[in-house]
């Protein structure tokens, strides 16, 4: 166990080190002035350029520069955005929770809907209901997420006028920024019409969450269905049957638990898909998350923002992926080495 933990910690640290190294080298690779790419400031005079070069240690060796970069990174002094000149650290700390909130709800919906559907399909496989489940999963897996979001907007916002088109919460409600999670912020905030604000925020959440959850649910359904079908063919299920357990006992005590085991590593694999979908959906719904922020940054060629955004998102994804993989191996030591699952 300790050994396993050490291996995973080692893996995470090495990967993050590699990512930091990549992000360190990016300003040299981006087109334009290295100094501007690093700091986000266009030097107006020679004196200012010299001063900035002194700050970023551009005259020293690469190792000194890297050491300095590490220091600034860990002290939270990430420079300023090229286009808006605001601190990148503040921008990220506002944008990132919004994305995390969105993908958390999407993941929650996919787990709550996808896993039971997959189970029922797997238990009754090759029956009409299972046929419906498989059709649903193949069809919804094939939806391009941006088109799905546009369809939702057309139906629910434009035609029926039920749900808001974009944003996070109506501007009428002035929600102070605490944690960055809009639901939490509204709940702890001391504002009038709290219930209305909450209702409004939930309405804003529905369409983006559903668009992301649609594809992820399909993947969960397919994996769960396959997993339960495999488990029900195992010898210990036959043994339980021969001992005279009822179907219900066999399913809940032997089938369900064992079938759930391979689903955790599956979650780890879906995080990067989830983030990609979330980034696309955020731009469509103007959700003020990190994906929208990064894509605006690339439109404006805001290189300092791209560099930091890339580092933050990839460190988040890598840490989360490896944590879940570690958990799944710690829970299920029987699996010698986790192999990437196939759908």
């Amino acid at each position: 166990m300790i050994n396993l933990l050490a291996r995973y910690v080692n893996l995470v640290v090495l990967t993050i080190a590699a990512l930091i190294l990549i992000s360190f080298s990016l300003p040299y690779l981006f087109p334009g002035d290295v100094l501007t790419n690093m700091s986000g400031i266009v030097p107006e005079s020679e004196a200012q350029r010299a001063a900035l070069e002194g700050v970023y240690k551009l005259n020293s060796s690469v190792f000194v520069q890297f050491w300095y970069y590490l220091n600034t990174l860990f002290s939270g002094n990430w420079g300023v955005s090229f286009s808006s000149q605001e601190s990148l650290f503040d921008a990220v700390s506002i944008a990132f929770p919004a994305t995390i909130e969105l993908i958390t709800y999407a993941l929650l919906i996919s787990v709550v809907v996808g896993i039971p559907l997959g189970f029922i399909g797997g238990i009754w496989h090759h029956k009409p209901f299972d046929f419906g489940v498989v059709t649903f999963s193949v069809v919804s897996y094939s939806f391009p997420v941006f088109w799905l979001a546009l369809i939702f907007i057309t139906i629910f916002s434009l035609q029926l006028g039920l749900l808001p088109l974009s944003g996070r919460v109506n501007l009428l409600y002035d929600v102070p920024h605490h944690s960055g999670f809009i639901i939490v912020d509204i709940l702890v905030a001391d504002i009038p019409h709290k219930a209305d604000a909450l209702y409004d925020a939930l309405q804003h959440l529905i369409l983006p969450t559903l668009s992301i959850a649609f594809v992820t649910t399909a993947i969960f359904v397919r994996f769960t269905r396959r997993s339960i079908m495999d488990v029900m063919e195992k010898g210990y299920i036959d043994a339980a049957k021969s001992r005279g357990f009822t179907t219900k006992q066999i399913f809940f005590k032997h089938g369900l638990r064992n079938a759930l085991l391979p689903i955790l590593p599956l979650m780890a694999m879906q995080i990067s898909t989830l983030i990609t979908n979330a980034m696309v959906v955020e731009t469509i719904f103007s959700w003020p998350g990190i994906g929208n922020w990064l894509i605006q940054a690339i439109y404006q060629r805001d290189y300092p923002a791209i560099r930091i955004g890339m580092l933050v998102v990839s460190v988040f994804v890598v840490t989360l992926t490896f944590t879940i993989e570690f958990l799944s191996r710690a829970i299920d030591p029987a699996r010698d080495k986790f192999e990437r699952a196939t759908i």
Partner: protein, 297 residues
């Protein structure tokens, strides 16, 4: 000398024939295959099939609805867009770009991935371990993020977005190949080859690669559906194919401004992408269940 067969009535299909026999038992899979072949045909023949040049602007017919609507015209079957370009021709050319580039990039990713995966699977120790961890971390970085970095360095364009998606797809191929090769290397027929004095290259070409074909076919269909969605998503965000080149995702995002007055401009390219991915997924699903059934029988 007349040959006679003692077991004339017995039919021994080859492994490929066996897959096909299993595959065609599912009607859905056959329909999916037909649609997929149609898209292959479009990808090759789009310039011959399309009635107009996709970029020619007919200012006399702007925002013409499709032919099946009341005031549509049969000369533009799918109508025209805000600049008077024929949507049918644009859909054909867009499908050609999206589908064609996805197929090409999957093939490139497959070749690189199998090569690296075989190296990692046949070697042991530090070399293989370093490669694995490197690719694992690459696998965890979202495709769109890789694309953003590549676009930031090299600029927008179809080739650059293809490069980003290739980079994102390679780790999956490497992983599959590596674990498969590693499993096969433990088996007795490989041991037999080794005892016969076969070199590693020969073991790979003659023994392991033929049995890996099916795994690669299934993995490629998965990768192809991801590639189509990613290429069109990058086009949609205008990071992929640029203007004179027609691409489904890009033409979808260009028609967003008139989406309310001309919903078919958003519906048609989107549906085309959806149909493409659906066909690939159905064929992949059919292939997988055919392989599974073949192993059971």
């Amino acid at each position: 000398m007349p040959r006679f067969s003692l077991y004339q009535e017995e039919f021994h299909p080859s492994p490929f024939m066996h897959i096909w026999l299993e595959f065609k038992r599912s009607h859905f899979a056959l329909v999916g295959l037909a649609v997929l072949l149609m898209f292959c045909g479009i990808a090759v023949l789009a310039p011959l099939m399309s009635p107009y040049d996709p970029n020619i602007q007919n200012t006399n017919a702007i925002l013409l609805p499709p032919a099946w609507e009341g005031n549509g015209s049969i000369s533009h079957i799918f109508g025209t867009d805000a600049l008077g370009r024929d949507v049918f021709s644009r859909t054909l050319h867009g499908a050609r770009t999206t589908f064609g580039s996805s197929v090409i990039l999957v093939i490139i990713a497959l070749l690189i991935g199998v090569a690296l995966g075989t190296l990692a699977g046949m070697n042991k120790g530090v070399k293989s371990s370093v490669l694995n961890h490197l690719l694992d971390s690459l696998m965890a970085v979202p495709t769109l993020l890789i694309a953003i970095i590549i676009v930031a360095i090299l600029g927008t364009g179809l080739l650059n977005s293809m490069m980003a998606i290739i980079l994102a797809l390679i780790p999956q191929f490497v992983h599959q190949t590596r674990s498969f090769v590693r499993e096969e290397m433990k088996k007795d027929y490989v041991l037999l080859d080794k005892l016969d004095g076969a070199s590693s290259a020969r073991i790979f070409w003659k023994s392991i690669l033929p049995s890996m074909f099916e795994l690669l076919a299934v993995q490629s269909t998965l990768a192809l559906s991801v590639a189509i969605i990613d290429i069109s998503a990058l086009g949609f965000l205008s990071l992929g194919a640029q203007v004179p080149l027609v691409e489904l995702g890009a033409s979808l995002s260009q028609s967003l401004e008139v989406a309310y007055s001309a919903p078919w401009l958003v519906a048609l390219p989107g549906f085309c992408i959806f149909l493409m991915v659906l066909a690939v997924n159905i064929v992949g699903e059919g292939l997988r269940s055919a392989l599974r059934n073949r192993l059971i029988h």
